[in-house]
């Protein structure tokens, strides 16, 4: 069964002109299949966040095309782009970016507010998602009453609330300790397994290893794409050597469950 493309970039350039032009992205082409799990790695300043902003419909490319949900983002007007941003993508940020005066439930429900969905329905959906990220009992807590890991889980629930084609996470565990990071990444796996397309920026190998493939960026260009799907193809954790980089045992463990669950989701 051929996978649909959730997001496609075609020869995308992004140039910032403040004094000397900076080519943050310099001819990037990438297709993100629906239901896939892609990690993006690269040194600081390599253009990872710029790429996420483009895919997240927060910004438009200087040249080339970014297609989200089948629509070219660069050609859309501000209003349409905003609508797409609200419905087709879900953002998870390193700094969580929750509304400080809204409680967990309201934060999760916020994107639906802007889609004009009524309150009762919003709350039900938000409660459901909070339940799924394990925060059913924290619905009326304000962000500053939650731990970092809990906040990120709220952010993840919010990212999912409008059933987006893709969830974008820009260094989602950068502000978390190792244990909470694992919790979040487990949730990513879980949602990925349930069919959500994941695009995760990280500079940590063990985070990237949870993905199907790793896109390595360098100076605004794709340096190489590392395919971890080999594990998937073999359907077994006993063959960790297929990727370009050898995965550790721990990483291999975490991989075991997800590809198979992934297939289930895919066949839905």
């Amino acid at each position: 069964m051929a996978r649909e493309t959730a997001v496609a970039l075609e020869n995308v350039r992004k140039t910032y002109r403040i004094g000397e032009p900076v080519h943050a992205l310099d001819g990037v082409s990438l297709a993100v299949p629906r239901g896939s799990y892609t990690a993006i790695m690269g040194p600081s300043g390599s253009g990872k966040s710029t790429l996420m902003n483009l895919v997240g419909c927060l910004d438009t490319p200087t040249a080339g095309e970014v297609v989200v949900g089948g629509r070219p983002v660069g050609a859309l007007g501000d209003r349409e782009r905003t609508r797409l941003r609200g419905t087709e993508v879900g953002f998870v940020f390193q700094t969580f970016n929750l509304m400080p005066r809204l409680n967990a439930l309201e934060n999760v429900a916020l994107p639906q507010l802007f889609q004009g969905i009524d309150r009762a329905e919003r709350r039900e959906r938000a409660r459901d998602l909070l339940e799924r990220v394990g925060l059913g009992d924290r619905a009326d807590h304000l962000p500053n009453e939650l731990s970092g890991g809990q906040r990120q889980r709220v952010a993840l629930a919010r990212a999912l609330v409008n059933d987006p084609a893709i969830v974008l996470a820009d260094e989602p565990s950068g502000n978390l300790d190792t244990d909470t990071e694992a919790d979040i990444l487990d949730l990513f796996d879980e949602f990925h397994a349930a069919g959500t397309t994941m695009l995760v920026v990280t500079h940590e190998r063990h985070v990237a290893d949870r993905a199907d493939r790793i896109v390595h960026l360098l100076d605004g260009k794709i340096e190489r794409i590392e395919d971890l799907e080999g594990d998937d193809a073999s359907g077994s954790a006993a063959d960790p050597g297929r990727g370009t980089e050898p995965a550790s045992d721990a990483d291999a463990d975490s991989e075991t469950g997800s590809p198979s669950r992934h297939r289930e989701a895919d066949s839905e």
Partner: protein, 435 residues
């Protein structure tokens, strides 16, 4: 996003900054309260004044001689120029039904039997028809040349034993001379019978000019008693005509209340008084001019003054509103800057520009409306207390209350427009990077 949701979210952020929001609305509260209080007072004052004009004084025209440059109410700048002969001659003029003088006589005390009460400005010397029949609750008008008086209820009731018809009162004139009078009538109101007296309720005793005022002028040289607060002893006329009482004020009656009759009486009287035939003319000179006004006109004049005063105060209040709205705008701008990140988050999760605009505008309008409502409450209370204090019938100009709330909304919108527009235009990427 629907308006109710905007309201909910905006209210949330207002409550998140209670003190700041309270201070912001304060400017609006003060502005609106000032407007409402003064408008209420003004309306009450007008109602109080209008309530005092009786239709039966519409035939009356009130006259005095003053420098035409002096502006003001009845008797402003008036000088005593009218002699009893003038009054008689004016009464004889065509179109004039009656003419009589008006003067207040400074008193010290009034006694009813053994009981004495202190009272200044207690006697009003004038013509019999000054107290119109319809104004009499009991008895009759006094007669010219008799030692008779009509008293008002306030004067009658100031003694332990109320004054009744036929009672004899002893009046101590300023200077100690005593005179007596018999009460022949009691009026139905303690408020002034004409614009000369002012509008407030106070004890008043009405007596004929002859003998009371004539005796005054002749005996004591105090002829300058007049409608209220002027000091005693300004007997300018002493040098000009010994024993010749000069009146500060004159009242003429037209044949009817029709404007044409009023105008005819007024013209006829002025023509005579300003001609060489009158005694007044020798004192009028170049500086003084005789002014004749009906009570409606005087009232209008007073209302104009009131309106001017009110507009002035409303103007000041409007400035305070302006300051209040600048306060709102300022706070909203601070708030937009402070919440840049929140705006970025909202836009990142799909808020349209108009959603953000709506939120901030709603917030400004809520502040404006709260300010307007509190200001209206405070203003009404202020108006109520003021009206109580100066004893006026309370009139709430409801249209102004509606207007105040409207102004609150408008001020909110105007003050919130630019900050909200700035918020709406915030670039989400920049905003999310903002610390």
């Amino acid at each position: 996003m629907n308006p109710l949701e905007s309201l909910r979210l905006s209210w949330r952020s207002i409550r998140g900054h209670k003190l700041r929001s309270a201070l912001t609305t304060l400017g609006i509260v003060i502005g609106i309260a000032a407007v409402i209080a003064f408008v209420t007072l003004g309306a009450s004052l007008q109602a109080g004044i209008i309530g005092d004009i009786s239709p039966d004084d519409r035939r009356n025209v009130y006259g005095w001689a003053a420098d035409p440059d002096i502006e003001g109410g009845p008797l402003a700048g008036a000088q005593p120029v009218f002699t009893p002969d003038d009054l008689e001659s004016v009464a004889a003029q065509p179109d004039v039904a009656a003419a009589y003088g008006y003067a207040t006589i400074q008193t010290q005390a009034i006694s009813n039997g053994n009981e004495t009460v202190a009272q200044g400005n207690g006697l009003i010397a004038t013509g019999p028809s000054y107290i119109r029949e319809s104004r009499l609750a009991e008895g009759r008008q006094f007669e010219r040349g008799e030692r008779e008086a009509v008293v008002n209820p306030a004067a009658a009731n100031q003694f332990e034993e109320n004054v009744t018809l036929g009672d004899e009162l002893t009046v101590t004139i300023l200077g100690g001379e005593r005179t007596t009078l018999e009460v022949v009538g009691i009026t139905d109101t303690s408020e002034g019978q004409s614009p000369f007296e002012g509008f407030e309720s106070s004890p008043r005793i009405y007596v004929p000019t002859d003998p009371y005022y004539a005796a005054q002028a002749a005996g004591l040289g105090i002829g300058g008693g007049s409608g209220g607060e002027n000091e005693t002893g300004t007997g300018d006329e002493n040098g000009t005509g010994i024993g010749d009482a000069r009146f500060l004020a004159i009242i003429i009656e037209a044949d009817s209340a029709a404007q044409s009759d009023i105008d005819a009486a007024r013209e006829s009287a002025s023509a005579y008084l300003e001609s060489d035939r009158s005694d007044a003319s020798e004192l009028l000179g170049d500086d003084l001019e005789v002014t004749f006004r009906t009570s409606t006109e005087l009232l209008q004049q007073l209302q104009d003054v009131l309106a001017l005063l009110r507009n002035f105060i409303v103007g000041i209040a409007a400035i305070s509103l302006l300051v209040g709205s600048i306060g709102i705008a300022n706070i909203m701008l601070v708030s937009v800057t402070e919440r840049t990140r929140e705006i970025g988050i909202m836009k990142a999760v799909g808020a349209q520009n108009r959603d953000v605009l709506g939120l901030f505008l709603t917030e400004a309008v809520i502040l404006g409306v709260i300010g307007a409502i509190l200001g209206t409450g405070l203003g009404l209370l202020g108006g109520y207390l003021g009206a109580q204090y100066i004893d006026l019938p309370l009139v709430y100009p409801l249209e102004y209350v509606a207007l105040a709330v409207g102004v609150g909304i408008l001020v909110g919108i105007l003050a919130g427009l630019y900050p909200a527009w700035r918020a709406a235009r915030t670039d989400p990427i920049d905003a999310l990077r903002y610390e």
